[in-house]
Symmetry: C2
Subunit: 443 residues, 2 copies
């Protein structure tokens, strides 16, 4: 029985906790039982605090229920500062680092009753060099990055929710590879205070859960938006299908999922239309990479200039490439991004959301890195909210899905339409109804 | 002789250091002599490191000259992380805090040869509650805030340059009250990594010096923009005079400085025109305050939720007011700000720069707080680059000036026109020529 509880979704667990049908201690124990069983294989965590988590759970069980996240166990990507756990940013430079405060987002979750079980693996400073984490669907494969540990921990039912960040594709891609829901809100919508910066005009805080309503519960707290706790959507959504100019890199499973989603959602009443691909969008992948490299070379200046020898060759090469970009070039890049963004913002006059590939296909083998963020870079550059929906399976038996992209600051509607679409897509795929307890079928 | 050296401007000192006509040790000793003489009165510093600074100076004197800031002593606002000095953010919550890294901007200055003498006083988390710093022109008055110590240290010739930040008016206002040059670049132009966040869509890193070319030298390094090291400007600038909708709060000395600047610069060949005041701009002061309160209540969530008892009543009230603003309201506020910003961006089709009040007038008495940022809030909300130019004196014998506002990302031109205008304004006021060694005449 303890093992089954760890598979509860955040929303269903929250309801049971608030009705006192479940204690926080039971839930934390169930999550730790799962972690103890699987962590030797998955390596999702950099630090765990079982005793402190149980103590906090007991304290919550003794007191009145007050917070919206009362008793919910969470994982925190090790890019977020935490006052009671080591914070190493995936880098040997910070091997013995302890921060003096919680990141603001962690503090907000804790104040609403969430219990931090531990820190999850991040790639080096949320860039490209992988940590030890493996994909819970099949350990030969990468969970994706940079939020590798958060995605794997949620996918493996070690926690119902985990915090992550996205600068290129670091939430959507690992969600896709692990077969869970990943949500990157509108740029700036969740405070980044206490999160190690990588690229200031791109870094976005978000998270992972196993259903859209589950991720929306946490988003509602972090974004202070009560509308996200009621995802009823009774209009017919207007969905723009956007192949992306990287379509030639999409593998067959992605193309099939794309066609299947268009057919299913159209049959279910959505107005589904292909969106034309502006040819100048082909340049956006490189444009994003240049903006990221320039800003990372600035944000990681201390590490680059004072501890360059402890930075991986791959990251150092990116930082040095960024350091060769002049301010004039960077400003031109930002202006080009703003022009493209304005054009895309207009698409939302005729579409409520867009549906696009999240990744080229199933997760690559773990020894090939964490996969390519090319299908995510433009949306991150635009600052638009993105939601990964898992609903299909590829030739290796690994998860496949699509990302839904919303209008800027229209996150609550993206989540509502996403919850509707996810349910329809899972039903069509023969999967279970997505209540709070939904767990995407294991591959 | 040691005392005179501390009055050298950054650019002149840099030239002497690079030509080995001056050693870094001589300059650091001169600055510390000034600090030792005056700190008991001014209280600009929260921490000093004389031995380490002298050691670094000697090391630089022994080696080859390589960096653009070789041997230049600087002060760092105690909102920036520093690896070798305490970092307390002006709050008792961080009384014994040591950060694990330098803020990226500090690391960039150090890598170019700057020597950090110490940390300067900030108000509590860069908000309103003052530290102990006094105005070097007259100790009965405030130096302004939140970058109180940085402005006072530069004005008192303790250092030729100091780092600061602006979220409302925290660079321009203290520069105005202390009679020095303050530069707040375009939003996002200098990395904020390692600077304690207050409001993420507003916080901007900048600095103080005693002349425009001096501040431009540091800006060129921090913004990676070589154009700022050659401020020659030979066109006739088109200057828009912008009274601001807070004009009724402008004191007579500000109105006189405004009229005097318009007359002088017009006589010197600039095309000077009054800009119409859009009546909806009256709402921008409150709009900025609401955006700041919402974002501060998020960014300081850890402090608010876990250490509320150690936050001043005034800041706590702002954070609690911010916490009552919903996401929907905040998004509407951001949209209103973006609309107003787009309109103002258009003004730069016909004006190269705007000239506007920096503050209502001379510095208020120290026991009245750090003054009102009302003349700065709209520009910070718009993210436009601002440069304070001191050139006049008010009825109490305290400094008065105006701020020049540039087009977004046109910082190098703002600095070039600002250098030209500052020289003309000082000449007209009977002040000295502004070479690198210029020190604004003491009140």
């Amino acid at each position: 029985m303890a093992i089954a509880l760890n598979r509860l979704g955040a929303l269903e667990a929250a309801h049971k906790l608030q009705r006192r049908e479940l204690t926080a201690e039971q839930l934390v124990r169930a999550c730790f039982a799962r972690i103890e069983q699987r962590e030797g294989t998955i390596h999702a965590w950099t630090a765990l605090q079982k005793d402190a988590a149980l103590e906090r759970a007991q304290e919550l069980d003794r007191g009145a229920v007050s917070g919206l996240l009362h008793g919910l166990p969470i994982g925190v990507k090790d890019l977020f500062d935490t006052v009671d756990l080591p914070t190493c940013y995936g880098s040997p430079i910070y091997e013995r680092h302890r921060s003096a405060a919680d990141a603001a987002s962690v503090a907000i979750c804790r104040a609403e009753g969430a219990i931090v079980l531990g820190k999850t693996v991040t790639t080096e400073f949320a860039s490209y060099v992988p940590g030890p984490t493996r994909n819970p669907r099949n350990e030969a494969y990468t969970p994706g990055g940079s939020s590798s540990g958060s995605a794997a921990a949620v996918a493996d039912s070690m926690v119902p929710f985990a915090l992550g960040t996205q600068t290129a594709g670091s939430i959507i891609r690992p969600a896709a590879y692990c077969g869970i829901v990943g949500f990157k809100p509108t740029f700036g919508a969740i405070t980044r205070a206490g999160v190690k910066p990588l690229a200031e005009s791109l870094d976005t805080v978000g998270g992972f859960a196993r259903s859209v309503p589950d991720v929306a519960l946490f988003a509602s707290v972090l974004m202070r938006d009560a509308r996200m706790r009621d995802l009823a959507y009774d209009a017919k959504p207007r969905i723009g299908m956007y192949r992306s100019l990287q379509w030639r890199h999409a593998q067959s499973e992605t193309k099939e999922a794309y066609a299947q989603a268009a057919a299913t959602l159209s049959r279910m009443g959505a107005r589904v239309e292909e969106v034309a691909l502006p040819s100048e969008h082909a340049a956006l992948v490189q444009l994003h990479a240049d903006v990221m490299a320039y800003e990372a070379s600035q944000a990681l200046a201390y590490e680059r200039l004072a501890h360059g020898g402890q930075i991986s060759p791959k990251l150092l090469a990116m930082l040095e490439a960024g350091a060769r970009i002049t301010a004039e070039e960077h400003i031109r890049n930002l202006e080009r991004a703003a022009q493209a963004r304005a054009r895309v913002d207009n698409w939302f006059e005729s579409h409520d959301v867009l549906l696009a590939p999240s990744a080229s296909g199933e997760a690559p083998f773990a020894d090939l890195g964490t996969g390519d963020p090319q299908f995510c870079r433009a949306w991150t550059l635009f600052g638009l909210p993105c939601l990964h929906l898992p609903f299909a399976t590829g030739p290796q038996g690994l998860p496949v899905g699509l990302q839904m992209v919303g209008r800027r600051h229209d996150d609550h509607r993206l989540l509502a339409i996403g919850a509707w679409a996810h349910q329809k897509l899972l039903e069509a795929a023969g999967g279970p109804d997505i209540g709070g307890s939904h767990v995407w079928p294991r591959g």
